[in-house]
Subunit: 379 residues, 4 copies
């Protein structure tokens, strides 16, 4: 809980869409849920639609609103700039905030090109501030347990990774075009979904050395809008598959698809070691599936439920089986960010790490285009 | 979102434990998430520990704090009193609030005896205010879907109900005594867990006509505290099972246990009709399992994921598969309460309905004690 | 494998329906799969339809055929009489075989009334021969593992049993009448399905002391045949539920229904102890679900796959995960029977035990009819 | 059922190991279960161990036995030669049988090299006889349903395939060397396990055009025997992953591993189309998981149970949910073979198709070795 003697941390949020509201809720809930090292202030909310900014600011508890995000960035009482705008705007906004010496919390993907991402990383390094990118799935307490098991050697030496992030919102040819179909906006199944999985793979297993991949545009044209007769040509990937070689020696497969019917948020993976196997599916985010060798006759995959034994969970629910939701992963992400701002060691995704995710995705894209293995070190 | 021209609704919250914080979060998140018919104000927070009340009020965004709950109840700017204190205190607090003409939002169970519950119901009726009791599991959007299917006849005529609420926190004889082991505090597996299931059964299928039951104290003594050598005699039920006859003709079974190992929040049920079957488990609160007759060769239980098609869900997540958590059910409960305060028809559990739940539990307790069938109408 | 020096065991089989063929296959496969203590001979096959008996005898490898079962029973080269005819005929056939001093292997249920069952048990006792009744689900190797865990104390003291056997072949009012709807033929959900579950409950947990129950005829009339306009009045139970008190102190619930949509062979149970929980579903007959207390942070229900570690499995498959089928449970049942004939201690269901199952079912029937608790000792 | 007027079909079986007995049982059970177009005779059984051959012949119902398989092959009353010996012997035995004009039923893999496989295919073509290779998993009735759905267009256009066959019997470095570790014996995870999955992929989706792959020897040495201190160098693949491009346009991933802990028979796949998705796991061989688009609000993956609606199932069990076992897939395989011998169109794996499986495996091996995409047409 907040005490009066704590330093103030002024938050400025840009964007009032679904993700903007998710950030607003997360900041509030982090304040109510955790003992933070700051007196957190929701200083300002910006949206190009000034009227909407004003209305949301009142409703979400922000002190003031702006129709021009640059005013928010230059506001001296804003210490942290949170960016939830369309992907194309991440670069100019983050660069301006870094230039102004502000900490930056940017939604994923970091940028719409590897070049941008590298420039942003360099700017962050120069600014010497805390940066974070919204790969919120990593903040799931049960993912924390998975990471602890892997790093603690409970699975033995890690030898395999199978990962797939599939959804079905572009499931057939009638699903209409959107900005997600444009490469210039970081669209496509690989960038939109796959990047979450690549971030997760790196979070749990570290660097990837080399990749081979295959991408496909299944529906080369889609209606301009739902039900429209106007068709737009599509060149972005509907599905991308890859082989991965990790620096730790593990081998495996990767998939991302936005047209696999039946899946709504199937960020899933299975990690095999010489002593056990674990698997996870974001569609059941409060569960980890674990097999441990060494229990002959009493062995079998078990379902571990999220619970207070895992850091972060107990702040929301007193007992296992009660379950966290998507929005609470966001609150945990914000908590980690604020801890980092307070100087406490942490494991969030900063701009440097997010750039590595972009680099890996770029390698996959190149491998698919050129139909050959690509070393990450060559990117 | 909140507009300035809306009438004010002043909330007073009593209790700062886990459930107190859950209420505080729920009020805030309801305000941020929904367009409410009120300008919601967190007016006052009360706790017998005045220092804690003050600290929590600051952290949770309440305007003032009280060490004496009666001050909160008599505060004219408080329109709604939320009660999250130990069960014994529900009665005096709710009665005082009703006496003062306030709307009341009381945690479950309504009271520690059927007599109290009846008195509270009568007082609520006389006061003519909105009352609600915290059976939050009913506010799960996917439970709303289940209710809609049942009432819309998708399962045909309902003929069976199997329900079980099991946890394992009292799983062995070393799990220590707590107030939950005292009948005077509405303890025991039936009251503590089973009442949730009875409320759910009534919510979905309506009145129960008659019950037969069996209760057992498996561990007749438990340590006074964890690890203590001092033993306390226990007479409360560790597990209770029952047969249910519903007024709609359905028959079935009921179980509640707090010592079934492996279960953490296993409020589960299966409802069978002449055209289909559905089942649910609170440990996977975002899923409904459904079988519909009439698809020969392509039939099978299917897993329906919570999603925006169900009322309430879309306010938290834009897409299915992203999942709500326990706390969001609380937010939905608060939303329904505020809607009711605004005069919008709703289906929340008011004092009259909560009294019926107590009555049903009382019938089960009597049936078990006297080893005979008991008609609810005789209670 | 069979050696020439082994004593001969002549098998006579009555009935050529599905279950007759299942027996024929089981005898043959037992011979091919196991080292038996006998030189097994398929001596004779009887069916009231003599032509069918002859044809099946040739196809199934029996030496001769009869249109009159009494000839088979009196054939001196027949040592073991297997009965797979309609329930009404179990009594006269088994009594004649016992009278002739033959071992008897009778399909379930043992008889169509408790009186018959008691007479058959007495006759078996007097004859001093080996008898078996076809509760084949108990011969599942993974059920053997469950029994071993329970008896070995791995679950601690057993405190709860929840069992349900549901199917849906009478799922709606258009499912036609059949002999299964007649009490005189041991019809109804309790006798037809529930008796399997009662046998299983006794097999795993032993005697039941007392029961309370509720039975219902959901569809009081059904078409005489599928699609017929002629309706027949039905008085048999479509569903029966009960509370069980076991002699070992465990309490629990029982259900049997033949109109729960979606279930095809849902003989399922969950057994709770002070140290763990196990559950099973016949629809996944090669799996056991187990939770063991005492692994904090690494606990969860696990799925144990049938495998060679369990007696009997390895005779069919060399590795776990390959799975036995329904018919192999029958082969295991026959193997146990032949072992018993060879004097090897075993745990099959003999007439005495099958009579106890009938007695328990009778108690449930009486408890439902009279709406009161019934002690088994009073039956 | 067999009639006297049917032509005789004399079966000669080579090998008396686990697979030999599985064949013997399958021939017998096919005879008892199905109306065959032949009078099936179990003529002869051969094993290099003549005493064992004699003993098994007596036990399994074969007319005579041989210590020399060539005698069996040249026996004029043998019309069909079944080969269940070690992989190295498939080639000489099958070639001799074809040379003698016999139909051949050979266990998988067809041969230990693509060259052998091609020679065998050519010999089969020249002999003009029926040949079959034991990819028994394809004969699962529920796989038949999957094939029917795919070919009938129920999933729309097929766009993706994810397949994995994992087991764990070589799960750690202490699992000893066996012949399965030798390339000359067609060892390794790809050949031993993966070939089943490749055969299944071809069975369901047809030709593969191109592959890229990655193979790894995780444990470069293993004990010579269990517990031995002597170590043997290992160069065979412990795990192999691949990208697949199907001729029908579908893309996907392939995996095979014999060291993924927890899996015992995890031949699994998921097939995505523009209208739906289906998945299967051999560890639950009686189930198909299906999602069909077009049921908004009532959609979700469903579990379809094997049942009499699927060809073949009803011959073993009268009702769904009763389940077939591994050995019954073998019986179904034998049935299909005998139907083919009787001139009835069928879809079994003949030598030509089995050669294509070897060719595909060879392409994967080459792609992994040379780290490049390989077109199947170049093999």
């Amino acid at each position: 809980m907040r005490g009066n003697s704590l330093p103030e941390l002024g938050v400025g949020l840009i964007g009032t869409g679904f993700m903007g509201r998710a950030h607003a809720l997360a900041f509030h809930n982090a304040r109510t849920t955790f003992d933070l090292p700051f007196n957190l202030k929701l200083v300002a909310l910006a949206d190009a639609d000034a009227a909407r900014a004003e209305k949301c600011a009142a409703s979400w508890g922000f002190g003031r609103s702006h129709g021009d995000w640059q005013q928010l960035v230059s506001d001296p009482s804003v210490n942290l700039v949170a960016i939830t705008t369309p992907n194309l705007l991440h670069f100019p906004m983050a660069m301006a905030a870094l230039e102004a010496g502000k900490a930056v919390y940017c939604e994923k993907p970091l940028a719409v090109s590897l070049e941008q991402a590298r420039e942003m990383q360099a700017a962050a390094l120069k600014a010497g501030v805390v940066t974070r990118v919204g790969y919120n799935y990593q903040h799931n307490p049960i993912i924390g347990l998975a990471k602890q098991m892997i790093e603690g050697g409970e699975l033995g030496r890690i030898v395999s990774f199978q990962g797939e992030f599939s959804e079905d919102f572009m499931g057939n040819g009638l699903s209409p075009w959107s900005w997600r179909c444009e490469e210039a906006h970081a669209g496509g199944a690989l960038a939109d979904l796959g990047s979450h999985l690549l971030a997760m793979a790196r979070y749990l297993l570290g660097d990837v050395d080399a990749v081979c991949a295959d991408s496909q545009t299944v529906h080369p044209q889609r209606p301009a809008t739902r039900g429209s007769e106007e068709q737009r040509a599509i060149s972005i990937d509907d599905q991308t598959y890859a082989l991965l070689r990790f620096a730790n020696g593990a081998r495996g497969t990767f998939g991302s698809s936005w047209l696999k019917h039946g899946y709504k948020n199937h960020l899933s993976f299975e990690i095999g070691g010489t002593e056990g196997t674990l698997s996870f599916d974001q569609e059941r985010l409060n569960e980890l599936r674990l097999y441990r060798a060494g229990f002959p006759g009493r062995d079998g995959f078990q379902r571990i439920l999220a619970g207070p034994a895992q850091p972060g969970y107990a702040s929301f629910c007193p007992a296992p089986g009660h379950q966290l939701g998507y929005n609470e992963l966001k609150t945990l992400e914000v908590h980690e960010l604020i801890q980092a701002l307070g100087g406490q060691g942490s494991n969030g995704t900063d701009f440097a790490e997010a750039m590595e995710v972009e680099r890996l995705a770029t390698a996959i894209r190149m491998a698919a285009k050129e139909m050959r293995w690509v070393s990450i070190s060559d990117i």
